[in-house]
């Protein structure tokens, strides 16, 4: 029994990192219907910015987290302005291909800038182990990730539903042209969306670095793909869906590994993606809405 609970906790802690990345993914999709494949690489940039903030400037956890979120917000806006804005009226597939291009640019640019070797991430917060009962343990970082993810999700929900910029985002997502006619500045609204989404990715990157102590320029690929699966699982574009999708994916993967099939873990993640796309393409939380013609 202890074993099952321990594995469940492991699953939640892996899943909450997926969820944290998926929040930014799903938000950008929700507003402008773009699958931003560069999101996982912004996550990598976030980890590296805080790595250098800690090792070169000797900052603590909170300042380095804030610097990395600010830097990635800026990176997000630059990516949007240079790569996606010129394609605003192009077909969706053209934008998707551009997103893949940006992703490769960031990965290889990262290798060029910092080298391909993994770097050891310094321990910013001392990990404390808590024994809950029996042999079941949980550490302070695992608790922190889950707490941060839930808080950010609530904050995002609040921003999208109760603030002026959130109202503008929803208007843009509903009908970009009509929103423009109503006097909404569509470009700055989309930039704001990218800034928030990228800042979330940065936060995930810093936490990932702290948890696993090793960062490299290609670290964003697999977590980025898993977060995409999580977002689709929860219903892409739906903020609470990202959280639930991430946690469900983490727990399922863990279940597969914990019974001895660790090689099947990634296969199961993508099998879930395929099954969801076949049987409930709108995701667990999605409603079936017909596309406007």
């Amino acid at each position: 029994m202890d074993y099952i609970i321990q594995q469940f906790i492991n699953g939640i802690s892996v899943g909450s990192i997926y969820a944290l990345i998926a929040l930014g993914y799903t938000m950008v999709y929700g507003i402008i219907k773009l699958i931003n494949f560069a999101h996982g690489d912004v996550f990598m940039i976030g980890a590296f910015v805080s790595f250098y903030a800690v090792t070169l400037l000797h900052l603590g956890f909170i300042p380095s987290l804030l610097i990395s979120m600010a830097a990635c917000a800026l990176v997000g806006v630059i990516i949007e302005r240079t790569a996606y804005k010129p394609l605003r009226n192009a077909s969706r597939i053209a934008v998707l291909i551009t997103a893949i291009g940006v992703s490769f640019l960031l990965e290889n640019g990262g290798i060029f800038a910092v080298g391909a070797q993994p770097k050891g991430f310094p321990e910013l917060i001392h990990k404390t182990q808590y024994t809950i009962f029996g042999n079941v343990t949980i550490d302070s970082i695992q608790i922190m990730i889950l707490a941060v993810t839930v808080i950010l999700m609530i904050l995002l929900q609040y921003i999208v539903h109760y603030t002026k910029i959130g109202k503008a985002m929803r208007a843009v997502s509903y009908d970009m042209e009509a929103a423009r006619l109503m006097g909404i500045n569509v470009d700055s609204t989309i930039s704001a969306t990218f800034a928030i989404g990228s800042a979330l990715a940065a936060a995930a990157g810093v936490i990932f670095g702290m948890t696993y102590n090793s960062i490299d320029p290609l670290m964003g690929i697999i977590p980025g793909l898993k977060a995409f699966v999580a977002a689709v699982l929860g219903g892409i574009g739906i903020i609470p869906g990202a959280l639930v999708g991430g946690l469900v994916l983490g727990v399922l993967e863990t279940a597969v590994s914990s019974v001895g099939y660790s090689l099947w873990r990634d296969g199961v993640a993508f099998a879930i993606l395929i099954l969801i796309l076949i049987f409930k393409p709108s995701g667990l939380f999605g409603k079936n809405v017909r596309e406007k013609v």
Binding site: Y3, Q6, Q7, N10, G11, S13, V14, I111, G115, A116, Q117, P118, K119, G120, E123, K127, Q129, T137, D139, F208, Y212, N213, S214, D216, L218, M219, I222, E253, T254, S257, S258, G260, S262, L263, D266
Partner: protein
């Protein structure tokens, strides 16, 4: 677009000029270095290259080989097998090298074997330890040699060490399934450990670039083995050891030369590496004067201590130079014949003789990590 055209044109002119100069092979002997200079295993390739360059420099300063200077042509395989094949092809057809040193990992070396066999260019791998590198389906790859001992030896040395020195009765083996190296070490460890009367409780697996190992480590903790054998590469191993220690797994970890990289200590953390043991090719603090002379030469040139990959790069270059000298010619097939006859060659990692499989017969060293430093534990000779 104009820029891209310019680059293509630039490349074209460069390759023609290099071909032009290679046609004149009079004053230098070109030797290719096909290595991991970028990518996940870059630490190994760059270390090996430093060793190769140090050896080449010493040979050239002493007047070269038969009056000719050595020129090292390096090619990056990005730590990928397909790139290693391409790098070998480029070195042979474009740069016209007479021999290749490389690569530093088994998977990437195996990918280049067919190329050198087809083109009849001898290749010495400094550090690829998988048995299949030199022997394929019972047949020796005639142009492939190596400077290091092979996996079956490394795995069984650690199994004997576990039984005799650590008094282990049970073990768990945790393998990187994406690596031939890891599987090779694991198999020989298991065979020897069972032969010694030990019991393998389970065999677990991970893949390159994984970052969360807690799930499988929780399984391993349940089984409570006396030792845990992780024959992997430093990036994953560092994370495994760290996460295991944080979860309260106190059993000794053991591994092979794939652990040997300075980054391991950064990733795993000094105190977490205590009570871990690896088999390696040499120890920098081994009192042997040959080793100390090499270590100080390396430190003067690069400002850091050489790891196992650097010393084997150095040995591979010297083995090759010795063979070219004995062959009296830089003709690839004559070099091959001379390499095959290598006997009692004095390398830094020990005196070696190549057996009928082109594998050296020499000792292995066991190291223990103490506060992030590799400490010489014992030397094991082949039976």
């Amino acid at each position: 677009m104009a820029l891209a055209m310019g680059m293509v044109a630039g490349c074209g002119s460069q390759s023609t000029s290099s071909q032009g100069s290679s046609g004149d092979n009079g004053s230098t002997i070109k030797i290719g270095a096909d290595l991991e200079l970028t990518g996940g295993q870059a630490s190994y390739g760059t270390s090996a290259l430093k060793g190769i360059q140090l050896a080449a420099e010493e040979i050239n300063n002493a007047g070269g080989i038969n009056g000719k200077k050595i020129e090292i042509v390096q090619a990056d395989d990005s730590s990928k097998p397909e790139e290693s094949t391409r790098a070998a092809q480029k070195l042979i057809s474009q740069d016209k090298v007479v021999a290749i040193i490389g690569t530093s990992t088994s998977t990437n070396t195996l990918a280049a074997v067919q190329v050198v066999q087809d083109k009849k260019i001898p290749m010495i791998t400094p550090t690829a330890t998988n048995a299949k590198v030199t022997v394929n389906n019972g047949k020796v790859n005639s142009y492939v040699f190596r400077a290091c001992f092979i996996d079956p030896f490394q795995g069984s040395v650690m199994a004997n060490f576990a039984t005799q020195n650590l008094k282990a009765k049970t073990a768990v083996v945790y393998i990187d399934t994406s690596s031939d190296y890891s599987k090779g070490l694991a198999k020989s460890f298991e065979d020897t450990f069972k032969k010694n009367g030990g019991q393998i409780l389970s065999e677990e697996s991970y893949q390159q670039n994984d970052s969360d190992f807690k799930v499988v480590l929780t399984r391993i903790k349940e089984r409570n083995p006396d030792v845990i054998y992780v024959p992997g590469y430093y990036n994953e191993v560092g994370k495994i050891v760290k996460q295991a220690r944080e979860m309260g797994i106190k059993a000794p970890f053991m591994g092979g030369d794939g652990w040997d990289a300075p980054q391991l200590v950064d990733i795993a953390g000094k105190e977490n590496l205590n009570n871990t043991f690896i088999s390696n090719h040499y120890a920098a603090d081994d009192p042997d004067p040959v080793i100390q002379k090499f270590v100080s030469a390396f430190k003067t040139k690069y400002g850091s201590a050489p790891d196992g990959f650097a010393v084997l790069g150095y040995d591979a270059m010297n083995m090759l130079a010795d063979a070219i000298k004995r062959a009296g010619s830089a003709d690839p097939s004559k070099i091959r014949d001379a390499l095959e006859a290598t006997k009692d060659f004095k390398a830094v990692t020990g005196t070696l003789t190549l057996d009928q499989n082109h594998d050296p017969i020499k000792a292995a060293t066991i190291l223990e990590f103490k506060d992030g430093k590799e400490v010489f534990k014992t030397k094991v000779n082949p039976q």
